[in-house]
Protein backbone atom coordinates (compact mmCIF):
# COMPACT_ATOMS: atom_id res chain seq x y z
CA UNK A 1 0.00 0.00 0.00
CA UNK A 2 1.37 3.37 -0.92
CA UNK A 3 2.22 5.82 1.78
CA UNK A 4 -0.32 8.53 1.22
CA UNK A 5 -3.30 6.27 0.63
CA UNK A 6 -5.69 5.05 3.31
CA UNK A 7 -8.02 2.71 1.43
CA UNK A 8 -7.29 0.76 -1.72
CA UNK A 9 -9.59 -1.35 -3.78
CA UNK A 10 -7.92 -4.02 -5.88
CA UNK A 11 -9.81 -5.46 -8.82
CA UNK A 12 -13.14 -5.32 -7.03
CA UNK A 13 -16.22 -6.82 -8.61
CA UNK A 14 -19.57 -6.54 -6.91
CA UNK A 15 -22.75 -8.47 -7.55
CA UNK A 16 -26.35 -8.08 -6.46
CA UNK A 17 -27.45 -11.66 -7.02
CA UNK A 18 -26.61 -12.28 -10.66
CA UNK A 19 -26.39 -8.61 -11.57
CA UNK A 20 -22.85 -7.24 -11.71
CA UNK A 21 -22.98 -3.73 -10.29
CA UNK A 22 -19.25 -3.02 -10.26
CA UNK A 23 -16.59 -4.30 -12.63
CA UNK A 24 -12.91 -4.38 -11.88
CA UNK A 25 -12.54 -1.33 -9.69
CA UNK A 26 -9.01 -0.48 -8.56
CA UNK A 27 -8.68 2.82 -6.76
CA UNK A 28 -6.48 4.42 -4.16
CA UNK A 29 -8.11 6.88 -1.79
CA UNK A 30 -5.67 9.39 -0.37
CA UNK A 31 -5.39 10.41 3.23
CA UNK A 32 -6.73 13.84 4.20
CA UNK A 33 -8.11 14.42 0.79
CA UNK A 34 -11.63 14.75 -0.48
CA UNK A 35 -12.39 12.27 -3.19
CA UNK A 36 -15.58 12.74 -5.17
CA UNK A 37 -17.31 9.90 -6.97
CA UNK A 38 -19.49 11.08 -9.83
CA UNK A 39 -21.50 9.50 -12.60
CA UNK A 40 -25.08 9.02 -13.76
CA UNK A 41 -27.65 7.19 -11.62
CA UNK A 42 -27.07 3.47 -11.39
CA UNK A 43 -23.40 3.73 -12.33
CA UNK A 44 -22.29 2.03 -9.13
CA UNK A 45 -20.77 4.95 -7.24
CA UNK A 46 -23.00 4.53 -4.17
CA UNK A 47 -22.43 0.80 -4.29
CA UNK A 48 -18.69 1.38 -4.18
CA UNK A 49 -19.05 3.79 -1.27
CA UNK A 50 -21.04 1.27 0.73
CA UNK A 51 -18.48 -1.39 -0.05
CA UNK A 52 -15.84 0.58 1.79
CA UNK A 53 -17.43 0.15 5.22
CA UNK A 54 -19.24 -3.09 4.51
CA UNK A 55 -22.70 -1.56 4.55
CA UNK A 56 -23.52 -3.74 1.57
CA UNK A 57 -23.35 -6.72 3.92
CA UNK A 58 -26.88 -5.82 4.92
CA UNK A 59 -28.19 -6.57 1.43
CA UNK A 60 -29.06 -10.22 0.94
CA UNK A 61 -27.33 -11.89 -2.02
CA UNK A 62 -24.68 -9.21 -2.30
CA UNK A 63 -21.28 -10.60 -3.19
CA UNK A 64 -17.82 -9.07 -3.40
CA UNK A 65 -14.79 -10.24 -5.33
CA UNK A 66 -11.35 -8.70 -5.08
CA UNK A 67 -10.01 -6.92 -2.03
CA UNK A 68 -10.53 -3.68 -0.19
CA UNK A 69 -7.44 -2.85 1.81
CA UNK A 70 -7.70 -0.64 4.87
CA UNK A 71 -4.97 -0.49 7.52
CA UNK A 72 -2.95 -3.10 5.65
CA UNK A 73 -5.60 -5.76 5.57
CA UNK A 74 -8.48 -6.82 3.38
CA UNK A 75 -11.68 -5.73 5.11
CA UNK A 76 -13.46 -8.62 3.41
CA UNK A 77 -10.99 -11.08 4.92
CA UNK A 78 -12.40 -13.94 6.97
CA UNK A 79 -11.20 -12.66 10.34
CA UNK A 80 -12.49 -9.10 9.96
CA UNK A 81 -15.44 -7.91 12.02
CA UNK A 82 -17.53 -5.48 9.96
CA UNK A 83 -18.61 -3.75 13.17
CA UNK A 84 -14.99 -2.75 13.85
CA UNK A 85 -14.61 -1.47 10.31
CA UNK A 86 -17.73 0.67 10.59
CA UNK A 87 -16.44 2.24 13.79
CA UNK A 88 -13.39 3.47 11.90
CA UNK A 89 -15.10 4.33 8.65
CA UNK A 90 -18.14 6.50 9.34
CA UNK A 91 -20.98 7.23 6.99
CA UNK A 92 -23.42 10.04 6.26
CA UNK A 93 -26.46 9.23 4.17
CA UNK A 94 -28.41 10.93 1.43
CA UNK A 95 -31.45 11.60 3.55
CA UNK A 96 -30.77 13.04 7.00
CA UNK A 97 -31.51 10.14 9.34
CA UNK A 98 -31.16 11.19 12.96
CA UNK A 99 -32.65 8.76 15.46
CA UNK A 100 -35.94 9.82 17.02
CA UNK A 101 -34.03 10.58 20.20
CA UNK A 102 -32.67 13.76 21.75
CA UNK A 103 -29.82 15.61 20.06
CA UNK A 104 -27.53 14.57 22.90
CA UNK A 105 -28.45 10.92 22.63
CA UNK A 106 -28.02 10.96 18.88
CA UNK A 107 -24.38 11.97 19.28
CA UNK A 108 -23.68 9.60 22.16
CA UNK A 109 -25.31 6.57 20.53
CA UNK A 110 -22.12 5.27 18.91
CA UNK A 111 -19.63 6.20 21.66
CA UNK A 112 -21.82 4.57 24.31
CA UNK A 113 -21.81 1.32 22.35
CA UNK A 114 -18.03 1.53 22.17
CA UNK A 115 -17.82 1.80 25.93
CA UNK A 116 -17.61 5.54 26.64
CA UNK A 117 -19.65 5.77 29.82
CA UNK A 118 -18.51 8.71 31.94
CA UNK A 119 -20.98 11.59 31.85
CA UNK A 120 -18.26 14.22 31.54
CA UNK A 121 -16.58 12.42 28.65
CA UNK A 122 -19.88 12.13 26.84
CA UNK A 123 -20.66 15.79 27.36
CA UNK A 124 -17.25 16.81 26.03
CA UNK A 125 -17.64 14.52 23.08
CA UNK A 126 -21.05 15.99 22.26
CA UNK A 127 -19.71 19.54 22.36
CA UNK A 128 -16.60 18.67 20.38
CA UNK A 129 -18.53 16.81 17.68
CA UNK A 130 -21.20 19.46 17.36
CA UNK A 131 -18.55 22.18 17.14
CA UNK A 132 -16.75 20.28 14.41
CA UNK A 133 -20.02 19.99 12.53
CA UNK A 134 -20.65 23.74 13.08
CA UNK A 135 -23.92 23.03 14.81
CA UNK A 136 -23.01 23.72 18.42
CA UNK A 137 -24.09 27.37 18.54
CA UNK A 138 -27.48 26.51 17.11
CA UNK A 139 -28.32 23.62 19.42
CA UNK A 140 -26.28 24.05 22.61
CA UNK A 141 -29.37 25.10 24.59
CA UNK A 142 -31.67 22.40 23.24
CA UNK A 143 -29.55 19.27 23.52
CA UNK A 144 -32.33 17.38 25.22
CA UNK A 145 -34.85 18.19 22.53
CA UNK A 146 -35.76 15.67 19.82
CA UNK A 147 -33.46 15.71 16.82
CA UNK A 148 -36.57 15.48 14.69
CA UNK A 149 -37.41 19.07 15.58
CA UNK A 150 -34.36 20.37 13.69
CA UNK A 151 -34.45 21.57 10.10
CA UNK A 152 -33.24 19.29 7.33
CA UNK A 153 -29.87 21.02 7.07
CA UNK A 154 -29.39 20.92 10.83
CA UNK A 155 -30.36 17.27 10.89
CA UNK A 156 -27.75 16.49 8.28
CA UNK A 157 -25.06 18.35 10.25
CA UNK A 158 -26.20 16.42 13.31
CA UNK A 159 -25.70 13.21 11.37
CA UNK A 160 -22.20 14.38 10.47
CA UNK A 161 -21.53 15.23 14.12
CA UNK A 162 -22.85 11.81 15.11
CA UNK A 163 -20.44 10.14 12.70
CA UNK A 164 -17.54 12.32 13.92
CA UNK A 165 -18.23 11.39 17.54
CA UNK A 166 -16.90 7.93 16.71
CA UNK A 167 -13.59 9.59 15.75
CA UNK A 168 -13.43 7.74 12.45
CA UNK A 169 -10.44 7.77 10.12
CA UNK A 170 -12.59 8.02 7.04
CA UNK A 171 -15.94 9.65 6.45
CA UNK A 172 -18.08 8.33 3.61
CA UNK A 173 -20.78 10.69 2.39
CA UNK A 174 -23.52 9.45 0.11
CA UNK A 175 -25.01 12.49 -1.65
CA UNK A 176 -25.20 14.33 1.67
CA UNK A 177 -26.71 17.50 0.24
CA UNK A 178 -29.13 16.18 -2.35
CA UNK A 179 -32.09 16.59 0.01
CA UNK A 180 -31.08 20.04 1.23
CA UNK A 181 -31.71 23.62 0.18
CA UNK A 182 -28.86 25.71 -1.30
CA UNK A 183 -27.99 27.48 1.95
CA UNK A 184 -27.74 24.25 3.92
CA UNK A 185 -25.77 22.76 1.05
CA UNK A 186 -23.28 25.62 1.16
CA UNK A 187 -22.87 25.14 4.91
CA UNK A 188 -22.21 21.44 4.51
CA UNK A 189 -19.71 22.01 1.71
CA UNK A 190 -17.86 24.52 3.86
CA UNK A 191 -17.89 22.03 6.67
CA UNK A 192 -16.57 19.22 4.49
CA UNK A 193 -13.60 21.33 3.40
CA UNK A 194 -12.86 22.10 7.02
CA UNK A 195 -13.10 18.43 7.99
CA UNK A 196 -10.51 17.22 5.51
CA UNK A 197 -7.77 18.54 7.79
CA UNK A 198 -8.55 15.73 10.21
CA UNK A 199 -10.39 13.15 8.17
CA UNK A 200 -10.30 11.48 4.83
CA UNK A 201 -13.53 12.12 3.00
CA UNK A 202 -15.05 10.19 0.14
CA UNK A 203 -18.19 11.76 -1.21
CA UNK A 204 -20.70 10.59 -3.78
CA UNK A 205 -22.45 13.43 -5.52
CA UNK A 206 -24.79 14.06 -8.39
CA UNK A 207 -23.86 17.69 -8.36
CA UNK A 208 -20.85 18.22 -10.57
CA UNK A 209 -20.29 21.77 -9.43
CA UNK A 210 -20.09 20.39 -5.93
CA UNK A 211 -17.48 17.84 -6.94
CA UNK A 212 -15.52 20.54 -8.72
CA UNK A 213 -15.78 22.94 -5.77
CA UNK A 214 -14.78 20.74 -2.90
CA UNK A 215 -12.88 17.67 -4.04
CA UNK A 216 -9.20 17.05 -4.63
CA UNK A 217 -9.65 13.88 -6.62
CA UNK A 218 -12.58 12.82 -8.75
CA UNK A 219 -13.56 9.41 -10.04
CA UNK A 220 -16.03 9.16 -12.91
CA UNK A 221 -18.13 6.00 -13.04
CA UNK A 222 -20.23 4.69 -15.85
CA UNK A 223 -22.10 1.39 -16.04
CA UNK A 224 -20.25 -0.09 -13.11
CA UNK A 225 -16.78 0.79 -14.36
CA UNK A 226 -14.32 3.42 -13.23
CA UNK A 227 -13.88 5.41 -16.41
CA UNK A 228 -11.45 8.00 -15.18
CA UNK A 229 -9.84 8.81 -11.84
CA UNK A 230 -7.78 11.95 -11.69
CA UNK A 231 -7.09 15.20 -9.94
CA UNK A 232 -10.35 17.10 -9.87
CA UNK A 233 -8.84 20.02 -11.72
CA UNK A 234 -7.69 17.79 -14.53
CA UNK A 235 -11.04 15.98 -14.80
CA UNK A 236 -13.01 19.15 -15.05
CA UNK A 237 -10.65 21.06 -17.36
CA UNK A 238 -9.00 18.46 -19.47
CA UNK A 239 -10.45 14.98 -19.12
CA UNK A 240 -8.59 12.29 -20.99
CA UNK A 241 -11.60 10.15 -21.80
CA UNK A 242 -14.32 11.33 -24.16
CA UNK A 243 -17.11 9.83 -22.01
CA UNK A 244 -16.00 11.87 -19.02
CA UNK A 245 -16.02 15.04 -21.06
CA UNK A 246 -19.49 14.27 -22.41
CA UNK A 247 -20.80 13.71 -18.90
CA UNK A 248 -19.34 16.77 -17.23
CA UNK A 249 -20.36 19.01 -20.08
CA UNK A 250 -23.88 17.68 -19.77
CA UNK A 251 -24.10 15.87 -23.07
CA UNK A 252 -25.50 12.79 -21.32
CA UNK A 253 -26.36 11.54 -17.84
Amino acid sequence: MEKDSIIETNRVHFYYGKFRALTDISMRFQKHRITALIGPSGCGKSTLLRLLNRMNDLIPEARVEGEVVFEDRDIYGPDVDPVEIRKKIGMVFQKPNPFPKSIFNNITFGPKLSGVAAKADLRNLVEESLRQAVLWDEVKDILDRSAMALSGGQQQRLCIARALAMKPDVLLMDEPTSALDPISTAKIEELVEELKKKYTIIIVTHNMQQAARISDMTGFFYLGRLVEYELTEKIFTNPSVKQTEDYITGRFG
Binding site: E84, F93, K95, F99, G110, L113, S151, G152, Q155, M166
Partner: protein
Protein backbone atom coordinates in the same frame (compact mmCIF):
# COMPACT_ATOMS: atom_id res chain seq x y z
CA UNK B 1 -84.74 15.20 -15.01
CA UNK B 2 -81.13 15.48 -15.89
CA UNK B 3 -78.75 14.86 -13.02
CA UNK B 4 -76.00 17.41 -13.05
CA UNK B 5 -72.49 16.39 -12.12
CA UNK B 6 -72.70 18.44 -8.98
CA UNK B 7 -75.87 16.83 -7.86
CA UNK B 8 -74.34 13.43 -8.51
CA UNK B 9 -71.32 14.25 -6.37
CA UNK B 10 -73.60 15.36 -3.60
CA UNK B 11 -75.68 12.23 -3.84
CA UNK B 12 -72.61 9.99 -3.61
CA UNK B 13 -71.36 11.95 -0.63
CA UNK B 14 -74.68 11.49 1.14
CA UNK B 15 -74.79 7.78 0.45
CA UNK B 16 -71.39 7.30 2.04
CA UNK B 17 -72.40 9.47 4.96
CA UNK B 18 -75.46 7.30 5.46
CA UNK B 19 -73.39 4.12 5.66
CA UNK B 20 -70.94 5.75 8.01
CA UNK B 21 -73.72 6.89 10.29
CA UNK B 22 -75.40 3.47 10.35
CA UNK B 23 -72.60 1.79 12.28
CA UNK B 24 -72.42 4.70 14.66
CA UNK B 25 -76.16 4.55 15.20
CA UNK B 26 -76.12 0.82 15.85
CA UNK B 27 -73.35 1.20 18.39
CA UNK B 28 -75.27 3.99 20.07
CA UNK B 29 -78.42 1.86 20.26
CA UNK B 30 -76.53 -1.06 21.74
CA UNK B 31 -75.05 1.14 24.44
CA UNK B 32 -78.46 2.68 25.09
CA UNK B 33 -80.03 -0.76 25.44
CA UNK B 34 -77.21 -1.94 27.70
CA UNK B 35 -77.79 1.00 30.01
CA UNK B 36 -81.56 0.74 29.92
CA UNK B 37 -81.43 -2.91 31.00
CA UNK B 38 -78.58 -2.47 33.46
CA UNK B 39 -79.39 0.71 35.33
CA UNK B 40 -82.54 -0.61 37.14
CA UNK B 41 -80.36 -2.86 39.33
CA UNK B 42 -79.33 0.24 41.23
CA UNK B 43 -82.82 0.48 42.65
CA UNK B 44 -82.00 -2.70 44.57
CA UNK B 45 -78.36 -2.20 45.35
CA UNK B 46 -76.03 0.81 45.58
CA UNK B 47 -73.31 1.28 42.98
CA UNK B 48 -70.69 0.79 45.70
CA UNK B 49 -72.20 -2.47 46.95
CA UNK B 50 -72.65 -3.67 43.40
CA UNK B 51 -69.03 -3.04 42.39
CA UNK B 52 -67.34 -3.92 45.67
CA UNK B 53 -69.74 -6.36 47.26
CA UNK B 54 -68.03 -9.66 47.95
CA UNK B 55 -71.01 -11.89 47.42
CA UNK B 56 -72.50 -12.84 44.12
CA UNK B 57 -75.63 -14.84 45.01
CA UNK B 58 -78.13 -13.53 42.46
CA UNK B 59 -80.63 -16.37 42.93
CA UNK B 60 -80.77 -16.46 46.74
CA UNK B 61 -83.60 -15.05 48.80
CA UNK B 62 -82.77 -12.27 49.41
CA UNK B 63 -80.27 -12.08 46.56
CA UNK B 64 -76.91 -10.34 46.84
CA UNK B 65 -75.43 -8.66 43.81
CA UNK B 66 -71.78 -8.00 44.57
CA UNK B 67 -69.65 -8.45 41.47
CA UNK B 68 -66.26 -7.78 43.10
CA UNK B 69 -65.26 -11.48 42.82
CA UNK B 70 -66.14 -11.37 39.12
CA UNK B 71 -64.12 -8.19 38.57
CA UNK B 72 -61.18 -9.68 40.44
CA UNK B 73 -61.53 -12.86 38.38
CA UNK B 74 -61.44 -10.88 35.14
CA UNK B 75 -58.51 -8.73 36.20
CA UNK B 76 -56.47 -11.60 37.53
CA UNK B 77 -56.74 -13.80 34.44
CA UNK B 78 -56.07 -10.76 32.25
CA UNK B 79 -53.01 -9.87 34.29
CA UNK B 80 -51.49 -13.33 34.27
CA UNK B 81 -52.30 -14.00 30.64
CA UNK B 82 -50.58 -10.71 29.74
CA UNK B 83 -47.61 -11.69 31.84
CA UNK B 84 -47.26 -14.74 29.62
CA UNK B 85 -48.42 -13.31 26.29
CA UNK B 86 -46.56 -10.00 26.23
CA UNK B 87 -43.00 -11.35 26.29
CA UNK B 88 -43.86 -14.15 23.89
CA UNK B 89 -45.77 -11.88 21.52
CA UNK B 90 -43.21 -9.09 21.47
CA UNK B 91 -40.18 -11.37 21.24
CA UNK B 92 -41.73 -13.42 18.47
CA UNK B 93 -42.51 -10.19 16.59
CA UNK B 94 -38.89 -9.08 16.95
CA UNK B 95 -37.68 -12.45 15.77
CA UNK B 96 -40.03 -12.54 12.78
CA UNK B 97 -39.43 -9.01 11.63
CA UNK B 98 -35.71 -8.64 12.32
CA UNK B 99 -33.94 -11.94 12.73
CA UNK B 100 -35.68 -14.83 11.00
CA UNK B 101 -34.50 -15.82 7.52
CA UNK B 102 -37.04 -15.00 4.81
CA UNK B 103 -38.41 -18.54 4.39
CA UNK B 104 -38.94 -19.12 8.10
CA UNK B 105 -40.47 -15.65 8.44
CA UNK B 106 -43.32 -16.55 6.10
CA UNK B 107 -43.96 -19.85 7.89
CA UNK B 108 -44.02 -18.25 11.33
CA UNK B 109 -46.26 -15.43 10.17
CA UNK B 110 -48.85 -17.79 8.76
CA UNK B 111 -48.72 -20.02 11.83
CA UNK B 112 -49.42 -17.04 14.06
CA UNK B 113 -52.23 -15.90 11.80
CA UNK B 114 -53.64 -19.39 11.99
CA UNK B 115 -53.50 -19.23 15.77
CA UNK B 116 -55.45 -15.97 15.60
CA UNK B 117 -58.07 -17.71 13.50
CA UNK B 118 -58.66 -20.59 15.91
CA UNK B 119 -62.21 -20.39 17.30
CA UNK B 120 -62.07 -19.69 21.01
CA UNK B 121 -64.28 -22.69 21.72
CA UNK B 122 -61.58 -24.92 20.26
CA UNK B 123 -58.98 -23.40 22.53
CA UNK B 124 -61.37 -23.73 25.45
CA UNK B 125 -61.89 -27.35 24.58
CA UNK B 126 -58.15 -27.88 24.52
CA UNK B 127 -57.89 -26.26 27.95
CA UNK B 128 -60.66 -28.43 29.31
CA UNK B 129 -59.62 -31.78 27.91
CA UNK B 130 -55.85 -31.55 27.74
CA UNK B 131 -54.56 -28.84 30.02
CA UNK B 132 -56.99 -29.26 32.93
CA UNK B 133 -56.35 -32.97 33.58
CA UNK B 134 -52.63 -32.41 33.24
CA UNK B 135 -52.66 -29.53 35.73
CA UNK B 136 -54.83 -31.52 38.09
CA UNK B 137 -52.52 -34.52 38.09
CA UNK B 138 -49.22 -32.69 38.03
CA UNK B 139 -50.01 -30.34 40.90
CA UNK B 140 -52.44 -32.63 42.68
CA UNK B 141 -55.33 -30.18 42.58
CA UNK B 142 -59.04 -30.59 43.21
CA UNK B 143 -59.67 -29.14 39.73
CA UNK B 144 -57.62 -28.21 36.70
CA UNK B 145 -60.10 -25.51 35.75
CA UNK B 146 -58.49 -22.52 37.42
CA UNK B 147 -56.63 -19.23 37.03
CA UNK B 148 -53.50 -20.87 35.64
CA UNK B 149 -55.41 -22.77 33.01
CA UNK B 150 -57.48 -19.74 31.96
CA UNK B 151 -54.41 -17.50 31.88
CA UNK B 152 -52.51 -19.94 29.69
CA UNK B 153 -55.33 -20.32 27.20
CA UNK B 154 -56.07 -16.58 27.15
CA UNK B 155 -52.36 -15.96 26.59
CA UNK B 156 -52.54 -18.28 23.61
CA UNK B 157 -55.33 -16.07 22.26
CA UNK B 158 -53.56 -12.79 22.97
CA UNK B 159 -50.19 -13.78 21.47
CA UNK B 160 -51.30 -13.48 17.82
CA UNK B 161 -52.80 -10.04 18.46
CA UNK B 162 -49.70 -8.78 20.21
CA UNK B 163 -47.32 -10.41 17.80
CA UNK B 164 -48.92 -9.27 14.57
CA UNK B 165 -49.50 -5.66 15.63
CA UNK B 166 -45.99 -5.42 17.11
CA UNK B 167 -44.57 -6.87 13.96
CA UNK B 168 -46.32 -4.25 11.86
CA UNK B 169 -44.89 -1.58 14.11
CA UNK B 170 -41.38 -3.01 13.86
CA UNK B 171 -41.69 -3.39 10.13
CA UNK B 172 -42.63 0.27 9.84
CA UNK B 173 -39.37 1.44 11.44
CA UNK B 174 -37.59 3.28 8.61
CA UNK B 175 -34.67 1.47 7.05
CA UNK B 176 -32.69 4.68 7.48
CA UNK B 177 -32.61 4.27 11.26
CA UNK B 178 -31.19 0.80 10.96
CA UNK B 179 -28.59 1.92 8.46
CA UNK B 180 -27.58 4.82 10.70
CA UNK B 181 -27.15 2.44 13.60
CA UNK B 182 -25.09 -0.09 11.66
CA UNK B 183 -22.95 2.67 10.19
CA UNK B 184 -22.05 3.75 13.72
CA UNK B 185 -20.69 0.31 14.46
CA UNK B 186 -23.71 -1.13 16.24
CA UNK B 187 -24.23 -4.87 16.06
CA UNK B 188 -27.52 -6.36 14.99
CA UNK B 189 -28.65 -6.88 18.58
CA UNK B 190 -27.63 -3.39 19.65
CA UNK B 191 -29.57 -2.06 16.70
CA UNK B 192 -32.65 -4.04 17.66
CA UNK B 193 -32.55 -3.10 21.33
CA UNK B 194 -31.51 0.54 21.02
CA UNK B 195 -33.02 1.69 17.77
CA UNK B 196 -35.67 -0.57 16.32
CA UNK B 197 -37.66 -1.47 19.44
CA UNK B 198 -37.64 2.09 20.86
CA UNK B 199 -38.79 3.44 17.48
CA UNK B 200 -41.64 0.96 17.40
CA UNK B 201 -42.47 1.41 21.07
CA UNK B 202 -45.85 3.08 20.62
CA UNK B 203 -47.02 0.35 18.28
CA UNK B 204 -45.77 -2.34 20.63
CA UNK B 205 -47.60 -0.74 23.56
CA UNK B 206 -50.76 -0.54 21.48
CA UNK B 207 -50.47 -4.21 20.66
CA UNK B 208 -50.04 -5.07 24.33
CA UNK B 209 -53.11 -3.13 25.37
CA UNK B 210 -55.23 -4.52 22.56
CA UNK B 211 -54.05 -8.00 23.52
CA UNK B 212 -55.16 -7.33 27.09
CA UNK B 213 -58.48 -5.98 25.88
CA UNK B 214 -58.93 -9.20 23.94
CA UNK B 215 -58.23 -11.23 27.07
CA UNK B 216 -60.56 -9.29 29.32
CA UNK B 217 -63.48 -9.47 26.90
CA UNK B 218 -62.99 -13.11 25.94
CA UNK B 219 -65.96 -15.20 27.01
CA UNK B 220 -65.85 -18.76 25.79
CA UNK B 221 -62.41 -19.62 27.11
CA UNK B 222 -63.05 -18.33 30.61
CA UNK B 223 -66.45 -19.93 30.64
CA UNK B 224 -64.90 -23.29 29.84
CA UNK B 225 -61.64 -23.31 31.76
CA UNK B 226 -61.71 -20.75 34.59
CA UNK B 227 -63.74 -23.01 36.83
CA UNK B 228 -66.61 -20.67 37.54
CA UNK B 229 -66.26 -20.05 41.28
CA UNK B 230 -67.61 -16.60 42.13
CA UNK B 231 -65.22 -16.06 45.02
CA UNK B 232 -62.08 -14.02 45.56
CA UNK B 233 -59.27 -16.48 44.76
CA UNK B 234 -56.61 -17.21 47.35
CA UNK B 235 -54.17 -19.04 45.14
CA UNK B 236 -53.33 -19.29 41.46
CA UNK B 237 -54.89 -22.73 41.41
CA UNK B 238 -58.28 -21.47 42.58
CA UNK B 239 -61.21 -21.26 40.23
CA UNK B 240 -62.57 -17.86 39.27
CA UNK B 241 -65.61 -16.54 37.46
CA UNK B 242 -64.66 -13.64 35.20
CA UNK B 243 -67.43 -11.23 34.21
CA UNK B 244 -68.02 -12.48 30.64
CA UNK B 245 -68.29 -16.06 31.87
CA UNK B 246 -70.84 -15.04 34.47
CA UNK B 247 -72.96 -13.19 31.93
CA UNK B 248 -72.83 -16.00 29.39
CA UNK B 249 -73.57 -18.73 31.90
CA UNK B 250 -76.39 -17.04 33.76
CA UNK B 251 -78.23 -14.96 31.20
CA UNK B 252 -80.21 -17.94 29.94
CA UNK B 253 -81.42 -18.71 33.45
CA UNK B 254 -82.24 -15.22 34.61
CA UNK B 255 -85.95 -14.35 34.42
CA UNK B 256 -86.67 -11.44 32.07
CA UNK B 257 -86.22 -8.08 33.83
CA UNK B 258 -85.61 -9.67 37.20
CA UNK B 259 -82.96 -8.31 39.53
CA UNK B 260 -80.58 -10.98 38.32
CA UNK B 261 -81.21 -9.98 34.70
CA UNK B 262 -80.53 -6.32 35.43
CA UNK B 263 -77.43 -7.22 37.43
CA UNK B 264 -76.00 -9.14 34.50
CA UNK B 265 -76.57 -6.19 32.20
CA UNK B 266 -74.93 -3.94 34.74
CA UNK B 267 -71.97 -6.33 34.72
CA UNK B 268 -71.95 -5.85 30.97
CA UNK B 269 -71.75 -2.09 31.51
CA UNK B 270 -68.72 -2.55 33.76
CA UNK B 271 -67.08 -4.73 31.14
CA UNK B 272 -67.93 -2.15 28.49
CA UNK B 273 -66.18 0.56 30.47
CA UNK B 274 -63.15 -1.60 31.07
CA UNK B 275 -62.63 -2.37 27.39
CA UNK B 276 -63.35 1.27 26.61
CA UNK B 277 -60.59 2.30 29.00
CA UNK B 278 -58.20 -0.19 27.42
CA UNK B 279 -58.96 1.23 24.00
CA UNK B 280 -58.60 4.82 25.13
CA UNK B 281 -55.28 4.02 26.77
CA UNK B 282 -54.14 2.27 23.60
CA UNK B 283 -55.12 5.30 21.57
CA UNK B 284 -53.42 7.69 23.96
CA UNK B 285 -50.23 5.65 24.10
CA UNK B 286 -50.01 5.30 20.35
CA UNK B 287 -50.19 9.07 19.97
CA UNK B 288 -48.13 9.99 22.98
CA UNK B 289 -45.16 7.82 22.14
CA UNK B 290 -45.38 8.18 18.40
CA UNK B 291 -41.87 8.78 17.18
CA UNK B 292 -41.74 11.27 14.40
CA UNK B 293 -40.79 9.84 11.05
CA UNK B 294 -37.32 9.78 9.59
CA UNK B 295 -35.44 12.90 8.65
CA UNK B 296 -37.97 14.78 6.65
CA UNK B 297 -37.34 18.33 5.61
Amino acid sequence: MKITRRRKEKLIKNIFFLFAIVSLLILFLIVLFLFREGIPIFKEVTLWDFLFGNEWYPTYQPPSYGIWPLIVGSLIVTFFSSLIAVPIGVMSAVYISEIAPAALKEVLKSVIELLAGLPSVVLGFFGMVVLAPWLQETFDLPTGLNIVNASLILALMAVPTISSISEDALYAVPKEFKEASYALGATKYETIVRVIVPSAFSGIMTSVILGMARAIGETMVVLMVAGGAAAIPESLFDSVRPMPASIAAEMGEAPFRSGHYHALFATGIVLFFMTLIFNLVADYVSHKFREEGSGTL
